[in-house]
C-alpha cells in the first residue's frame, strides 16, 4: 500500500495544530487564577462538559485500538465497550454528584474531606499519577504509529512532537483550552466515524448482514469472528477485565476532574448522561460496523495487507487503511486528522490531571501545607506539565509495540484497585479511618502494578521472559477486592484521631 503523505493529510494535520494553538491562545487570556487553570473556573455548561468527557474517554484506544482488536480477535472487542459504559453508569449513580459537592480541583480533594488529608493526598495522588502516566503511554503509542504512517516521520520524533504540543496546551491554556480541544475533537470523531460507517455500509448495500457475511468469509476465525472467544480469555480473565473497566471508569482522575468544571452537581450529572450517549454511539459504530468493515474490505486485499496478513503499521492502523479504501487520500487525510486530534485532546486531559496531582495535592497541600501563593502554585502546575510531557515522551518510546487497547485495560485495573476504592469509601463509609484508606489504597496500587509487572503483558511481552510469574493478564479481580477488604479490616482495627474529623 502506498503510505506516502497526501497533500490533504498534511494540510488537515497542520490545520488541527493551528486550530488547537488558537484555542490555547484564546484560553490563556482566561486562565489567570488557579481555579481557571485547574477547572476553567467551574463555568462550563452541561453540553460542553458532556462532549468534553466524551472527548476524554474516546481515545486512540477506542478508535484505533478498538478497530484493531476487532481485526485480530473479532467480537471480544465488545468487552471494551459495554464494560466502560456501565462504568459510566456506576460513576453517575455513586460518584458524580457527591464529587462535585465535596471536591475543588482534584478527586483527592473529595477523598480527603473526612480524613487526615496529608496521607490521603499522598496515596491518592500517587495512584492518580500511576493511572494517568500509563494511560499516556497508550496515547503516545497511537500517535507515534499514526504520524509515522501519515508522513513517514520516525516514531520517536512523532512522540516528541505530540509531547511538546500537549505541554503547550496545558501550560498556557489550562483546563479551558483542554475542554475546548476535547469537545471539538469529540464532535470531529463522531462525524468521522459516522462518515466512515455510512461509506462502509454503502459498499454492502446498507445491509449489516451482508457486511458480516463478507467479513466472516475472509477472516481466519470464520463465523466465529462474531462470537466471543477471539481474545482467548478464561472466565476469570474476562470477569477481571470487566471488573477493571466497570470500577476503573469511576476512578479515572482525568474524567473525575471534569466534574469540577461545571457549576453544580445537577450539571455534572446531566453532562455525564450526555457523554454516555455520545460514547455509546461511537462505541457501537466502531465495534459493530467499522470493525467488521475493516475485516471485510482489508483482510484479503493485497493492496492493504502485508505478507503476514496484517495491515501496514499494525492492527492499530486499520481505521486509517479503511478510510483510504473507502475514500482515497481525501478520506484518509480526514480520518488521520481526526485521530490525531483525538490523541492530542486525550493527552492534554491526562496532563492536566497529572500536573494537578503534583501541584495541588502534593506540592500545595502536602509539601507546603497550604501556605503557598496562587502565583507559585500556578508555576508549579506549569513545571509539572513539562515534567509529565518529558515522562510521557520517554515512556511512549520505551513501550513501542504494545497494543493500545490492551494497555488501556491495565490502566483501568489500577484505577479500579487504587483510586475508586479510596474515593467511594471515603465518601460513603463513615467508619473509614485514614489508616484504613491508606492501607487499602496502597494495597490496591501495589497489587495491581505488581501483578501487571509479573503477568504476561510486562514480564513476557516487555521484559522478554519465557513465562509469566503470575499467569493472569488482568489483575483487578484480585487487587480491587483486596483493596476494599484491607480498607475495611484496618479501619475496624483503628480509630480516627479527633483532630482529623
Amino acid at each position: 500500500m502506498n503510505s506516502s503523505p497526501s497533500g490533504v493529510a498534511i494540510g488537515l494535520f497542520l490545520s488541527i495544530i493551528a486550530v488547537t494553538l488558537a484555542i490555547t491562545y484564546w484560553a490563556q487570556k482566561r486562565s489567570r487564577t488557579a481555579a481557571e487553570l485547574y477547572t476553567a473556573g467551574g463555568q462550563i455548561k452541561a453540553w460542553q462538559n458532556g462532549w468534553a468527557i466524551a472527548g476524554d474517554l474516546l481515545s486512540a484506544s477506542t478508535f484505533l485500538g478498538g478497530m484493531g482488536m476487532f481485526f485480530t480477535a473479532g467480537y471480544d472487542a465488545v468487552i471494551y465497550t459495554f464494560a466502560p459504559l456501565v462504568g459510566f453508569v456506576v460513576m453517575l449513580g455513586f460518584v458524580a454528584g457527591p464529587m462535585r459537592r465535596l471536591g475543588r480541583f482534584t478527586f483527592v480533594d473529595a477523598a480527603a474531606t473526612r480524613l487526615s488529608p496529608t496521607p490521603i493526598r499522598i496515596i491518592g495522588s500517587l495512584s492518580a499519577l500511576a493511572v494517568t502516566l500509563m494511560y499516556l503511554i497508550g496515547q503516545m503509542l497511537g500517535v507515534g504509529g499514526l504520524i509515522e504512517i501519515m508522513f513517514g516521520i520516525p516514531y520517536a520524533a512523532a512522540v516528541i512532537l505530540v509531547g511538546i504540543l500537549m505541554v503547550v496546551y496545558v501550560t498556557f491554556g489550562g483546563m479551558l483550552a483542554t475542554t475546548w480541544v476535547q469537545l471539538t475533537k469529540a464532535m470531529l470523531l463522531t462525524f468521522g466515524v459516522s462518515l466512515l460507517a455510512f461509506l462502509a455500509l454503502a459498499q454492502s448495500h446498507f445491509s449489516i448482514g451482508e457486511l458480516y457475511g463478507r467479513a466472516a468469509a475472509i477472516h481466519k476465525l470464520g463465523a466465529d469472528l462474531f462470537q466471543p472467544g477471539g481474545l482467548g480469555l478464561s472466565a476469570i480473565e474476562g470477569a477481571s477485565l470487566s471488573m477493571a473497566l466497570i470500577l476503573g471508569m469511576p476512578g479515572m482522575p482525568h474524567i473525575l476532574m471534569r466534574f469540577f468544571t461545571v457549576p453544580d452537581a445537577v450539571t455534572a450529572r446531566r453532562s455525564l448522561a450526555i457523554s454516555i450517549s455520545v460514547v455509546g454511539f461511537v462505541y457501537y459504530v466502531v465495534i459493530f460496523i467499522l470493525g467488521p468493515a475493516g475485516v471485510a474490505y482489508l483482510a484479503a486485499n493485497p493492496d492493504f495487507t502485508t505478507a503476514s496478513g496484517m495491515v501496514p503499521g499494525g492492527s492499530n492502523m486499520v481505521a486509517l487503511h479503511l478510510a483510504r479504501f473507502l475514500g482515497g487520500d481525501v478520506l484518509f487525510g480526514i480520518i488521520a486528522a481526526v485521530a490525531f486530534a483525538t490523541i492530542l485532546a486525550v493527552v492534554s486531559g491526562l496532563t492536566v490531571a497529572a500536573a494537578s496531582s503534583i501541584s495541588h495535592d502534593l506540592y500545595a497541600k502536602v509539601f507546603v501545607r497550604g501556605v503557598v501563593s496562587e502565583k507559585r502554585e500556578k508555576l508549579v502546575f506549569r513545571l509539572a506539565s513539562v515534567l509529565i510531557g518529558i515522562l510521557g515522551i520517554g515512556l511512549g518510546i520505551a513501550f513501542k509495540g504494545q497494543n493500545i487497547l490492551f494497555l488501556t485495560g491495565l490502566v483501568f485495573s489500577i484505577a479500579a484497585s487504587a483510586c475508586f476504592p479510596i474515593l467511594v469509601m471515603a465518601m460513603f463509609w463513615k467508619r473509614l479511618t485514614t489508616a484504613g484508606a491508606v492501607a487499602g489504597g496502597a494495597t490496591g496500587l501495589g497489587l495491581s502494578v505488581g501483578l501487571i509487572v509479573l503477568g504476561p503483558s510486562v514480564w513476557v511481552q516487555v521484559l522478554g521472559n519465557a513465562a509469566p510469574v503470575i499467569p493472569l493478564s488482568q489483575p483487578a479481580i484480585i487487587s480491587a477486592p483486596a483493596a476494599f477488604l484491607v480498607m475495611i479490616l484496618v479501619s475496624l482495627a483503628t480509630r480516627e484521631p479527633e483532630t482529623a474529623r
Binding site: 456501565v86 449513580g93 457527591p98 448482514g209 470487566s242 457549576p263 455509546g280
Partner: protein, 90 residues
C-alpha cells in the same frame, strides 16, 4: 441525588436509587458476559434462518443501549434541591 444541599458543611449520602440503577446495569452486563462461557452456543444462533446476524449481535447491541437508557432514566428527575453555586463549592 443524596445529601442536604443547604448544609454548611459537606453532607454526602449515598443516593440509594441511583446506586440501585447502577447495580442493575452491572447485573445486566454481567449476565450477558456470563453467557460467553455458560451458553456460547446460544450466542451463535442466527436471529432468523439463514441470517448472518446472531444473538451475540442483538445482545451486544442491547449491552450498549441499556446503559444509555438507564443513565437518562437516572437523571430524569434531577433538581437542584436548593443547591446554589456557593453550596456546591464546599
Amino acid at each position: 441525588m443524596g445529601g442536604n444541599m443547604k448544609a454548611k458543611v459537606p453532607d454526602i449520602q449515598l443516593d440509594i436509587r441511583g446506586a440501585a440503577y447502577a447495580i442493575l446495569a452491572v447485573v445486566i452486563v454481567a449476565g450477558f458476559q456470563a453467557m460467553y462461557y455458560l451458553a456460547p452456543g446460544a450466542l451463535a444462533r442466527p436471529l432468523w434462518d439463514g441470517a448472518n446476524l446472531t444473538l451475540a449481535f442483538l445482545l451486544g447491541t442491547l449491552s450498549l443501549a441499556i446503559p444509555v437508557a438507564i443513565a437518562w432514566w437516572m437523571i430524569r428527575a434531577d433538581t437542584a434541591d436548593g443547591e446554589t453555586f456557593d453550596t456546591s463549592q464546599h
